[in-house]
């Protein structure tokens, strides 16, 4: 590279204080990295153990799905927790996000954290154990008080927010029945015989809900058709094309609000041996309506523990943001009527904010005997979107395919004979 003689003096680096001594440099190098910015989402009004109805003091509290509110089963008082969107300002400032902001419930899971949480019952003195892998409530087996796990423990079981169930079990059963009803003809015989949608289970699944700001760039090759003509070759007519070839580049900056990513490794595996894509398909949820954590929302429902950390999911976020960027630039490619081949891509995630949430799903599962594959029919318990995987009867399916193939072959033969 040549330099122009009239160039001004090269810019001096900005002065940022006197140089550090060797000891100071070493101390800085050894220092623990500063924790990233965080949002504290612990519901301070609740505690681990007994949480009483604000009106009568009863502990028998659960969600009433039809209203989305908590109801005290003793005095019928209803109330709800505040929406996290406003409480923690989650919808704001996505344009200004810097670095990785992690809400307290989405922090790294400690590998040695206990699954079991033990409470001493305030009412009768008995010890009550909650297995946080499957539930966050338990009843004292002596005095029947309900105990809740509300404080965020480092085993990933308590998220920042929860989106309560809205669809009742009956509504979910109806949707599952309708979904399977349309797929009876080629369904596996055993599946049809054992189909009992009443066994559907309400499950809170763990997700990380991400706001992010990103800039993406893409490089590739595009072609524009300039001419098209037909030539006769023997009995055939062959179409030829002429085209201009372009090297192209596109950039787009964007923000995403509430991108939802699986927080459980069991659910995040989309290999062909699983039907996890079914549960993924019922996304999105109206995550804006998620409320502050209160374990009472989980009474009567099952839950799955988060076991994936933000750091491990950063590549998934980048992948999804790259896909979003690609879909955004697609509108600028109309001119390239012969297509575009993207060859390189780049992403710069300027900032991201991660919040862990429990989202409600009605799950009907069926374990296929041959092969052992677990099939799901999943219903989004907020929007009602339903998706499923129904095991097929291979003999029936092959018979149908062969029948149609034979009919078509017969017709093709008849046409050939008629036109010969």
């Amino acid at each position: 590279m040549s330099t122009d003689a009239t160039d001004p003096q090269p810019q001096q680096p900005t002065f940022d204080g006197p140089p550090l001594s060797l000891e100071e440099e070493l101390a800085a190098a050894r220092a623990e990295p500063e924790p990233g910015p965080s949002i504290e989402t612990v519901n301070a009004s609740l505690k681990d153990g007994l949480n009483r109805c604000p009106k009568c003091g009863g502990t028998d509290v659960q969600l009433r799905a039809s209203t989305g509110m908590l109801v005290c089963l003793f005095c019928r008082h209803q109330w709800q927790e505040a929406r996290v969107e406003e409480e923690f300002g989650l919808g704001e400032g996505i344009d200004d996000l810097q670095g990785t902001v992690i809400a307290s419930g989405a922090r790294d899971i400690a590998a040695d954290a206990e699954q079991m949480v033990t409470f001493k019952c305030d009412a009768c003195g008995a010890e009550v154990v909650v297995d946080t892998a499957h539930a966050l409530n338990a009843r004292c087996h002596w005095c029947r008080h309900t105990f809740n796990v509300n404080q965020q423990i480092p085993n990933g079981a308590v998220p920042d927010a929860v989106l309560p169930f809205k669809l009742t079990k009956d509504e979910a059963v109806e949707r599952i029945r309708a979904f399977a009803g349309k797929r009876r003809l080629f369904a596996h015989k055993r599946f049809k015989a054992e189909f009992t949608p009443e066994n559907v289970l309400g499950v809170y699944l763990p997700y990380l809900v991400v706001d992010a700001r990103a800039e993406t760039s893409y490089w590739g090759t595009g072609e524009v058709e300039t001419r098209r003509w037909t030539e006769k070759q023997g009995d055939d007519r062959v179409t030829y094309y002429a085209a201009d070839v372009y090297r192209l580049q596109r950039e787009v900056a964007f923000t995403v609000d509430d991108l939802t990513i699986e927080g459980s490794s069991a659910r995040a595996d989309f290999g062909s041996q699983t039907t996890n894509n079914i549960v993924n398909t019922v996304l999105p949820f109206d995550t804006k309506n998620a409320v502050k954590w209160n374990a009472s929302y989980l009474v009567g429902y099952s839950s799955e523990k988060r076991d994936l950390n933000v750091e491990g999911l950063a590549p998934v976020l980048e992948d999804q943001l790259l896909s979003i960027g690609r879909s955004q630039v697609e509108g600028s490619l109309d001119r390239f009527d012969r297509g575009v081949r993207w060859e390189q891509e780049k992403i710069d995630v300027g900032g991201s904010r991660w919040v862990s949430m429990y989202l409600p799903v009605w799950l009907y599962s069926y374990q296929q005997k041959s092969g052992g594959m677990l099939h799901y029919i999943a219903v989004n318990a907020r929007t009602g979107e339903t998706m499923g995987s129904i095991p097929v009867s291979q003999p029936k399916l092959i018979l149908a395919a062969l029948t149609i193939g034979t009919v078509l072959e017969g017709l093709a033969g008849a046409i050939l004979v008629a036109t010969a």
């Binding site: 030829y240 879909s327 078509l408």
Partner: protein, 102 residues
């Protein structure tokens, strides 16, 4: 989707192909049977198992994008080809990852 409607779809496709077939003896029409059988299997299997479905986050997420910028330079001209489109067209395959640059 019933088997009858599948047969009708295939028949409609076949009828459209008849004028084209008359030019070259239409021997390739005999492929209709195997192609129809495989197509039927695949369509029904996919309707039952939904293996191709996933959350369309590119569409179903709140996205605020700024203006798309960029440029293009003509680098070559293809004078005569039988290919009707570019090799490896991935403009609609948003999830197909390509080489990452830093």
């Amino acid at each position: 989707m019933s088997a009858v409607s599948l047969v009708l779809v295939h028949l409609a496709q076949l009828v459209q192909l008849v004028p084209l077939a008359s030019g070259d003896g239409g021997i390739w029409l005999l492929a209709a049977g195997p192609v129809g059988a495989v197509g039927t299997y695949w369509l029904i299997y996919r309707y039952y198992r939904n293996t191709d479905k996933s959350h369309a986050y590119e569409r179903d997420t709140l996205i605020e994008a700024q203006q798309v910028t960029g440029g293009e330079d003509k680098i070559d001209h293809i004078g005569r080809t039988r290919d009707s489109d570019i090799d490896g067209d991935n403009r609609h395959s948003h999830r197909q990852r390509v080489q990452r640059v830093q």
